[in-house]
């Protein structure tokens, strides 16, 4: 029982990181970013290369990796996405192209065997007959801290308010002099960085393979749809719901069934309450 609680919490926090990043870029820029999983994978691989090849200390490698991926996200938005913004389908396809490219590049450079990223905390804790690795707890804590920082950023900085304004009404924000184009790049950078942080945090205990970004992408998407496209609170709640229901089902029934939760939830939501359970109606 405690195990479910802890594992569920860890998974949920990582999902929350991913989902919030995904919903940010969608809510603000209407970009359905299929490369979101690629950012996650790049974060993990970045941490790996910088520690294994550049021999940097893990904490430095982690920070660098996140910054690099964030920058990559900004570049992608500026060069590839911006010219295609009129068509949602075109944006979807181009981000897909990026995701495919990234996976191919990773495959070419690193091959398909799983890579080993050292843990930041090599300790294992024991609580009431449950073993939990320190790294997982770190992931949980890290994710929570990042989310809080994001919230503070959105609420209390000028750029943050600008982002929220655009998410509410992009046209009105433009009339008020907010440089929406530049904001989109910033938001993409933040979104990519958050995905990268998730990748870095889980790299020590997840399988690091080139295709590792696909499932997280699907989950982020599912959470965001259920929570409401563009709603940060919805994404967090959705992440908790998904994380815990997956953990419970995986423990009690089977892993296969747990994988269907996310997609089934999407379908049900779209049919019953398309704007998501916490999204604004007519967010489009």
């Amino acid at each position: 029982m405690l195990q479910i609680l802890v594992y569920g919490a860890v998974i949920s926090s990582i999902y929350a990181l991913l989902a919030v990043g995904f919903t940010l870029i969608f809510g603000v820029a209407r970009i359905l970013n299929l490369a979101h999983g690629a950012f996650y994978a790049l974060g993990a691989y970045g941490a790996y290369t910088l520690t294994a090849n550049a021999h940097l200390p893990l904490w430095l490698a982690a920070i660098l990796s996140v910054l690099l991926v964030g920058g990559f996200g900004v570049l992608m938005e500026r060069i590839l996405v911006r010219p295609l913004r009129r068509s949602m389908l075109a944006v979807l396809l181009i981000t897909l192209a990026v995701a495919l490219m990234v996976e191919q590049v990773l495959l070419l450079i690193f091959g398909s065997e799983a890579r080993n990223v050292p843990s930041m905390m090599d300790v294992t804790y024991h609580f009431a007959a449950v073993d939990i690795s320190g790294q997982r707890l770190l992931a949980l804590g890290g994710a929570i801290i990042v989310l809080i920082c994001l919230w503070l950023f959105l609420q209390y900085t000028r750029i943050g308010s600008a982002i929220l304004a655009i998410a509410q009404d992009a046209e009105a924000a433009q009339y008020m002099g907010i440089a929406t184009d530049r904001m989109y790049s910033i938001v993409m950078g933040v979104s990519a960085a958050m995905a990268a942080i998730a990748g870095v945090l889980v790299a020590p205990f997840q399988t690091v393979i080139p295709g590792m970004g696909l499932l997280p992408l699907v989950k982020s998407f599912a959470i965001v749809v259920v929570g409401g496209l563009g709603s940060i609170a919805g994404s967090i709640i959705g992440a908790l719901l998904l994380g815990f229901s997956e953990t419970i089902i995986a423990f009690k029934i089977s892993i296969e069934w747990s994988q269907i939760v996310s997609v089934a939830a999407v379908l049900i939501t779209l049919v019953i309450r398309p704007a998501g359970f916490f999204g604004k109606r007519g967010a489009f």
């Binding site: 389908l89 192209a97 049919v271 398309p274």
Partner: protein, 305 residues
């Protein structure tokens, strides 16, 4: 107009002639698959290309059609010919199930719902492996015709019939309404048109042909698997439509055949295949959003007329 039908007949003749020139069964196989993709691409284009309501889960109908063929033939031992009427019917049922709740709404809900529905079906076929054979799927379907050459001509005939049907509809007042839906749905309502009805029926037509293509594919491969519901398939089809020329019906068919042949030619360079695909995609999106085939034909036709 005449020149279009003439060109179509010529293209059909060319497709029919290919196996007579290149007599290997490998080529016939590639072309049969390409023809199936042609049906899938054309049917996607009819609904999404014309109305602009993008469908990210076309594979739902393909898989539905294919598995219908699989069940009827393998589980119930029915004569394989039964797959051909049954598959479209099941696919249409799926389209109605999905279409009714989601096509009423504006925004990307329809697109996303289709995407998730296809993925749900993929997962379900894996989970209920007792009935569906799981990852391995259903094997041992019987071919409809014993000669692969004859079967190629059968699928080609179905492609031609579908193309004629879809193009005729697209050129009729039905097509005018679908394009108006793409232009402005609210204005369409204000013009007295029951937009939801047209969207749902168009989706059903699209599903029927896709499902038929699925069954034809199943009876060629003689097996069906969960991959037929995969998102990858839906995306590949959309890429083919883009390459061919969205909205033209015949362009996507050309795009489908072209890309199938291209991928087969590159089969030797298996790692680079994905690169090629992705590069083609990027090129089209940035430089040729109207596609390649349809605009080429329009230019040619202007010269000839």
């Amino acid at each position: 107009m005449k020149i279009d039908w003439l060109a179509a007949v010529l293209a059909l003749a060319a497709l029919a002639a290919i196996p007579l020139v290149f007599t290997s069964s490998y080529i016939i196989g590639v072309m049969t698959v390409a023809v199936c993709y042609g049906m899938w691409a054309a049917s996607w284009d009819f609904m999404s290309g014309l109305t602009g309501r993008d469908n990210f889960g076309h594979s739902l109908f393909i898989g539905a059609g294919a598995y219908t063929a699989g069940f009827l033939n393998v589980e119930f031992g029915a004569n394989p010919w039964w797959s051909l009427p049954a598959a479209p019917v099941i696919a249409v049922l799926f389209s109605l199930l999905m279409g009714f709740p989601t096509l009423r709404l504006r925004g990307p809900y329809f697109a996303l719902a289709m995407l998730s529905a296809a993925t749900v079906m993929q997962n379900l076929t894996i989970i209920f492996s007792v009935y569906t054979g799981g990852q391995d799927g259903l094997n041992g379907l019987f071919p409809i015709l014993d000669s692969t050459l004859a079967y190629y001509y059968l699928t080609l005939a179905f492609l031609a019939a579908s193309a004629v049907l879809l193009k005729a509809l697209a050129n009729s007042s039905w097509g005018v309404i679908l394009r108006a839906i793409r232009g402005d749905e609210a204005a369409c309502q204000a013009a007295g048109i029951n937009v939801t009805f047209y969207k749902i029926v168009s989706l059903a037509i699209s599903a029927a042909i896709a499902g038929l293509g699925g069954a034809l594919y199943a009876h060629y491969q003689l097996q069906v698997g969960p991959d037929l519901f995969a998102v990858v398939l839906s995306i590949n089809i959309i890429i083919m439509v883009y390459v061919g020329g969205i909205g033209s019906i015949y362009g996507p068919i050309a795009g489908a055949i072209f890309l199938n042949v291209l991928t087969e030619t590159l089969r030797g360079l298996s790692e680079y295949r994905l690169w090629v695909y992705t590069l083609v995609l990027m090129l089209i999106l940035f430089f040729l959003p109207q596609g390649i085939m349809a605009p080429l034909w329009q230019r040619l036709r202007a010269r000839l007329a």
